[in-house]
């Protein structure tokens, strides 16, 4: 990837993520907080914080939160939201998940929500997040996942890439399990939290060009019935459902 492409993509639309219902109030956020088992003494790292929703949800429950993102405009939005809510124990840094600017074993919890589908490779990112966890620390990730069916997997990832050129892949549950194992983490729990996508705001956030929006409408509404069922495609207004999963994996 192109770090530059991701920064451009999110630099453009940072403000829309401050108020996006999927990001600010998604059902998975409550699961992420529960899986993190936040303690008052805990130091938390929120990787790819975006508009900071996860960092801000955890901040009142822990000692401090460090929130990183690749995109300065996103961090500016997150910092403004923190100030508006009077949250003082969150610090922000521009950083890349592939080379986190922290020593080994310094966080009690690492969170990563709605971001890994932009990572060019999953295993190095999970390894790096595992590296900064202290023994007994929890890695909590949440992201849209590809369905086990290969055709449905290819279909939805094609849809996602047309919508947002910086989309790499909705990793499958199996790929997540393998990444945790390779990084030496043991999966403790997982929960599926499907997310309802309203087409219009979805393509608005990603600033998808009008011609590609048309292609996407056709793909979603004209897909074979089986695929439309897998993603619960409904019209007027156009909407569909993406499988999403939250995992908590522990560093032994």
């Amino acid at each position: 990837m192109a770090t530059r492409d991701v920064r451009q993509q999110f630099g453009r639309s940072a403000e829309l993520y401050a108020t996006s219902a999927v990001h600010a109030r998604g059902a998975d956020l409550e699961v992420v907080v529960r899986f993190a088992r936040p303690g008052l003494e805990d130091v938390v790292l929120d990787v790819s914080t975006g508009a900071g929703h996860t960092a801000l949800a955890l901040a009142p429950l822990v000692a401090r939160v460090v929130a990183t993102d690749l995109t300065p405009e996103m961090l500016a939005v997150a910092r403004r939201l923190a100030a508006e809510r009077g949250v003082a124990n969150v610090e922000f840094q521009e950083a890349d998940v592939r080379a986190l600017p922290f020593p080994d074993a310094c966080f009690d919890v690492v969170t990563c929500r709605t971001a890994a589908h932009h990572y060019p490779e999953l295993v190095p990112a999970v390894r790096e997040m595992a590296r900064v966890l202290r023994p007994g620390g929890r890695l909590v990730v949440s992201d849209t996942v590809s369905p086990p069916d290969e055709v449905a997997d290819r279909f939805i990832n094609a849809v996602e890439v047309l919508r947002d050129a910086t989309h790499i892949r909705d990793w499958s549950v199996e790929e997540w399990h393998a990444a945790f194992q390779t990084a030496g983490l043991s999966l403790e729990a997982s929960e599926e939290v499907p997310v309802e996508i309203g087409f219009d705001s979805w393509v608005e956030r990603s600033a998808t060009p009008p011609e590609l929006r048309e292609v996407l409408v056709t793909m979603l509404t004209q897909a074979p019935e089986r695929l439309r069922e897998v993603f619960a495609v409904r019209t007027e207004p156009l909407r569909f459902r993406l499988p999403k999963a939250v995992f908590v994996a522990v560093r032994p």
Partner: protein, 59 residues
């Protein structure tokens, strides 16, 4: 930067290139091991290896 909370933050940080300790120097964070200098923009440290200035004489 500045203040005791930021001191605590510096203790938590490491150079993303070599994981050396960072110290504050003229609005930059400088790695004590490899000498890379990281900018701080709008009060936010930019801890990206590709944004770092290499120390003089390094290739």
């Amino acid at each position: 930067m500045g203040g005791s909370q930021d001191r605590a933050l510096l203790d938590l940080l490491a150079c993303p290139a070599c994981r050396g300790r960072l110290s504050e120097e003229d609005d930059r964070l400088v790695c004590c091991s490899c000498g890379r200098r990281y900018p701080v923009r709008e009060g936010i440290p930019v801890l990206l290896v590709e944004e770092a200035e290499r120390p003089e004489g390094a290739t």
